[in-house]
Amino acid sequence: MSAPSRAAAEWHQRAWRGLLTGVMALFLVNVGLIIAAVATSSFARRWLGTWLPDGWTVSWYAEAWKEFQLLHVLWVTVEVVFAVVFLSLLLGVPAAYTLARREFAGKRALMLLFLLPLMVPPFTYGIPLATVLYQAHVGGTIWGVILANLIPTVPFVILVMTPFIEQIDINLESAARVFGANTTRVFRYVLVPLLAPGILAASLLVLVRTIAMFELTFLTAGADSQTLVVALYYAVFAAGVRAPQSVDAMAMIYMAVTLVWLLIALRFVDPTQLVSRVKEHPRAA
């Protein structure tokens, strides 16, 4: 290769890398500014067409708290989220155990059953689901919201937990069984303590996803069973009825709740786990 063409290739490569970094930086800066705009507006006394508001105030938060009945909404959110985390673990972990340890007829069909709800977007199955729930008179209640939110989270727990369980040496279980432990005791004294990190990761991921789950909650919640994100949607939807700063104050409260849990979750999980369901497990090593 001659010297000038090599220099050209190098320049090419550097320009390409610069372009990619630029696109990424542009994206992140704009997302940051979108969030900063909400924050600025929520503290603004008045903000009309200037770079920064005329004056600052925190009174919108008190107003939003009262106007949108945020105490009630937050309480519903807590109830829904913790019920969903608890029930999805209760249903998902034993199922993951069977899938990790046993080969049986129909296992592939079962895996498909657990994969589909993660592939099909919530709005597509949410409409028929809401129809069924309303006919069973659970639609519009907090139980309807919890049941609907379990549909994507139970399979999610199964898919996160299965590789965790596969990593545990089966001899530990056999040893416990030799000493007379039944399945319940094996779970209680051997598996659950060993699985604690996996269960923690799964429950944090379910928690963060449920706080932000809009579609299913929106389709199944009644006036008394809205979670924070659905209440926020209605507030933005009815913009113009109330001061925009008040809606933004509510958005900030939602953001604070979500980000606190996200920060806690990121201490224990890899960010890519929020989108791809299963971590590449280090079994090959």
Binding site: A9, M24, L28, N30, V31, L33, I34, I35, A37, V38, G49, L90, L91, P94, A95, T98, L110, L113, L116, P117, M119, V120, P121, P122, F123, T124, Y125, I127, P128, L129, A130, T131, V132, L147, A148, I151, T183, V208, A212, F214, E215, F218, V229, Y233, V236, A239, P244, V247, D248, A251, M255, T258, L266, P271, T272, L274, V275, S276, E280, A284
Partner: protein, 297 residues
């Protein structure tokens, strides 16, 4: 793989195998999914053929002959396909660039999780302020005299498209990054000792191995974008250019209480998604034949 059934056969011929009670543990979850995922779907399918007048297909006929219903398919495709192409097209080179573990990679992935976690409703509210006619972007553009007329990026097609990129790009990026980091870098190093530059490494090693993952990522990103709802309402003009199919389904169910028509629209929505998914997976097979998973071990 098939060691267990063979073992069961041997044991079964000798004497009756005692029932494996561990298998019972999978039933609660399986019954739950059957009752709340499969049954509603089948019920919706059945309901969509129930009509007060006309034949069994009356709801579908109604959809495809009503002026504010059938165009929603095209409107949604016009939003979802460009958004997915932009997201996958941007994610692939950037994720490839960041494939090696570094502090920068860690920072970028952590920052990108934030818009995913916050969700579309909050991003929509932020975009209404930031991209609005008096928002920071418009002020900045006018300060630099790049474009002097007022820019309109909210309450139209562009608002929804941008929101699909803002919430979709982090998803595709993180997914593709996890696929790329799953490919053994030893393969690329081997290629480089044979004189392959970064571009050859990409086209000859990474791209063929990534093809299955890319196809799945495209499908997942597309079906998400195709069922766009909150941002189409909040950032678009839900009566006109961004009246997407999920808005039509929602209105049928919760404003007209016509659950049969709503179920029919949901089935059509699922069918269009299925068609695109099958087409993408078919295209992948047509372009690339080879081991689906390679380079491990």
């Amino acid at each position: 793989m098939n060691g267990a059934p063979a073992l069961a056969d041997v044991a079964g011929s000798a004497r009756r195998v005692p029932f494996d009670r561990v298998l019972l543990l999978v039933w609660p979850a399986a019954i739950f999914m059957l009752a709340l995922f499969v049954y509603p779907f089948l019920y919706g399918l059945w309901l969509s053929f129930q009509t007060k007048e006309g034949g069994a297909l009356a709801n579908y006929v109604h959809f495809f002959t009503t002026d504010n219903l059938y165009p929603t398919i095209w409107i949604t495709l016009k939003l979802a396909l460009p958004a997915t192409l932009i997201n996958v097209g941007l994610s692939l080179p950037i994720a490839y660039r960041l494939r090696r573990k570094s502090r920068f990679q860690r920072w970028v992935t952590t920052l990108l999780v934030v818009p995913i976690t916050l969700g579309t409703v909050l991003v929509a509210e932020g975009m209404l302020i930031y991209f609005g006619p008096k928002g920071w972007l418009s002020q900045f553009v006018q300060l630099l005299h790049l474009y002097d007329a007022p820019i309109r990026l909210t309450h139209n097609f562009w608002g929804v498209l941008i929101s699909l990129v803002v919430s979709g790009f982090p998803f595709t990026f993180l997914l593709i990054l996890s696929y790329i980091t799953g490919i053994d870098p030893v393969l690329a190093r081997a290629a480089s000792t044979l004189g392959a530059g970064p571009r050859e490494q990409f086209t000859q090693i990474y791209l063929p191995l990534l093809a299955p993952g890319l196809a799945i990522c495209f499908c997942l990103a597309f079906v998400q974008a195709f069922s766009v709802f909150p941002s189409a309402v909040l950032l678009g003009s839900p009566a006109g250019p961004t009246r997407v199919i999920s808005i039509a389904a929602y209105e049928a169910a919760f404003e007209q209480y016509d659950y049969a028509l709503a179920s029919a629209i949901a089935m059509i929505m699922g069918a269009v998604q299925l068609v695109i998914v099958v087409a993408v997976l078919g295209l992948r097979k047509a372009f690339y034949r080879g081991p689906v998973v390679g380079g491990k071990g």
